[in-house]
């Protein structure tokens, strides 16, 4: 059901937790399923040099949020703005169909974070 990559992300939960010196943060909740994601980014010279997340949510939401942090680190805000659902899913090796909206939660949280500084 979950790919090797997703399993690994859910098990290790890389980049979990908060970031004391974050420059950008967000807090998003999916009103239907109640899943919640927070992002914490430290951006220097337009580059995301550190990135953390917190999620209360299903395995899909966890995997997607973790994936986004991994994909963001070291990238510029510009690059990251282009990050698509498809790219995240590709990185994840797919998600079960009823978990696909976990990716949308992560993207929305990222957008909100980089939208406001």
């Amino acid at each position: 059901m979950y790919s090797e990559k997703a399993r690994q992300l859910i098990t290790e939960l890389p980049n979990r937790g908060t970031l004391a010196n974050a420059t950008h943060t967000s807090s998003v909740e999916n009103p239907v399923c109640g899943d919640i994601t927070h992002f914490y980014l430290r951006v220097e010279n337009g580059v995301i040099c550190d990135c953390r997340f917190q999620t209360f949510g299903c395995p899909g939401a966890l995997a997607a949020s973790a994936a986004v942090t991994v994909l963001c680190k070291g990238r510029t805000l510009n690059e990251v703005q282009q990050l698509t659902r498809k790219a995240i899913l590709e990185y994840l090796g797919g998600l079960p169909s009823h978990k696909l909206h976990g990716v949308d939660l992560a993207i929305e949280a990222l957008r909100q974070a980089i939208g406001k500084s």
């Binding site: 979950y2 399993r7 859910i10 098990t11 939960l13 979990r16 937790g17 807090s27 109640g34 899943d35 919640i36 994601t37 927070h38 997340f53 917190q54 999620t55 209360f56 949510g57 299903c58 395995p59 939401a61 966890l62 009823h98």
Partner: protein
């Protein structure tokens, strides 16, 4: 090295006992007759079915001709409700049930509402016990049927069926209990419980899936749900699933023998697991009554941890549990049972049901107690909701 496998989702389904499988085996390839055929093949099948009917009857202290074979607990529940509703509608259109029933009861009741029946759903208290005062109040002269489950599938709460059945009997109202989760786990005696109808299912007690039974007290009249051939004395049409029925019978016999062990050994394992979790992991709480409860399960909320994420993390380490009712579409919907208990919504979404069987061992429990604290800790590190203490 293969990962250790620990199955603690026995309320969803149980492994078939190898002895049950051996009992079923001859009826596929060799003694494959149709129990309705009058030749020797048919008669062999017929005898096997009648032996099984006796085994089921023995377990719940019924008479064999009070046992109707069905395709499972869901069909038993549907048959009981719709069969009584259709037959007795001239006497009244009111049915009483509870808010914590299995969906096989709740969805059928909703359908009956669409067809003009009036359903009262009795609430439960914070422990999951049906409010008997409300139930008594709800009875009126239109009431034809009361259906209250025996043991709840999610939290294990055991209702005082004798009590409710007596209330029904006094008012000449038929009484049904969904005992799918209790038969084979605790002593169930239809005479002592004084019920008119009782549902049970093989796959919850180490029997095969797709077969169950409905106990119908002698003299209770009702319509069939499935129409066709005059099988089962015209109360349920359809070629009998001979191996399945044989498996149900054998599962009943074995459960009967193991009832005592279930109540001591399995209960001790459950208690060890529950105590271990509560002691080792902070901010955990048991959902529902801890006294009026089935001996083999515990339903625990892990504050600030999402249930399905915890379930999957356990699964990745070989441990199978559930977040509530598994009898669903493969997606997790908020538990109507935990909702009925009231209390915090996020705690409800943090609930995990651990359900044991007589096949579990002390090693199983030790393994869970070894890996669970670490997993919960990591999930709390990632949770935006968790503040320790």
């Amino acid at each position: 090295m293969k990962m250790r496998q620990v199955y603690l989702d026995n309320n969803a389904t149980t492994p078939v006992d190898p002895r049950v499988f051996e009992a079923m085996r001859p009826y596929y390839v060799e003694d494959f007759g149709n129990a309705a055929s009058i030749h020797t093949y048919g008669q062999k099948a017929h005898c096997a079915v009648e032996d099984a009917r006796g085994q089921v009857a023995d377990l719940i202290r019924a008479r064999p001709n009070e046992i109707l074979f069905t395709s499972g607990g869901t069909e038993s529940d549907n048959t009981a409700l719709r069969g009584v509703a259709a037959r007795h509608q001239s006497r009244g259109n009111h049915i009483i049930t509870t808010s914590i029933e299995h969906s096989a009861i709740l969805r059928t009741c909703e359908q009956l509402e669409k067809e003009g029946f009036c359903i009262t759903y009795i609430p439960v208290d914070r422990k999951g016990m049906v409010r008997l005062d409300k139930l008594k109040e709800a009875i009126d002269d239109q009431t034809i049927l009361i259906s209250v489950m025996h043991g709840n599938n999610e939290i294990g709460a055991i209702q005082s069926i004798e009590h409710i059945a007596a209330m029904a009997r006094e008012r000449k109202i038929l009484f049904h209990t969904d005992a799918v989760q209790t038969v084979g786990k605790i002593g169930v005696n239809v005479e002592e419980l004084s019920v008119d109808l009782l549902s049970l299912s093989a796959h919850k007690m180490h029997g095969p899936k797709g077969v169950g039974a409905l106990y119908i007290r002698r003299g209770v009249s009702m319509n069939p749900l499935l129409f066709g051939g005059s099988h089962e004395r015209s109360r349920r049409a359809g070629t009998l699933d001979v191996p399945g029925i044989v498996g149900l019978g054998k599962a009943c016999e074995l459960s009967n023998e193991a009832l005592e062990a279930f109540n001591t050994r399995v209960r001790a394992l459950r208690d060890k697991l529950e105590k271990g979790i509560l002691e080792q992991i902070p901010d955990t709480v048991v959902n529902g009554s801890r006294t009026e409860r089935l001996p083999h399960l515990t339903n625990i909320s892990f504050r600030s941890v999402e249930g399905e994420a915890l379930l999957i993390s356990l699964d990745f380490q070989g441990v199978a549990v559930s977040t509530g009712s598994a009898c669903s579409s493969g997606t997790v919907e908020p538990s109507h049972v935990l909702t009925a208990l009231g209390g915090n919504q996020k705690l409800r979404d943090s609930a995990i049901r651990f359900s044991l069987s007589r096949m579990n061992t002390k090693n199983d429990v030790d393994y869970v107690l070894q890996i669970l604290p670490g997993i919960v800790e990591r999930m709390r590190e990632v949770s935006p909701l968790y503040r320790a203490g």
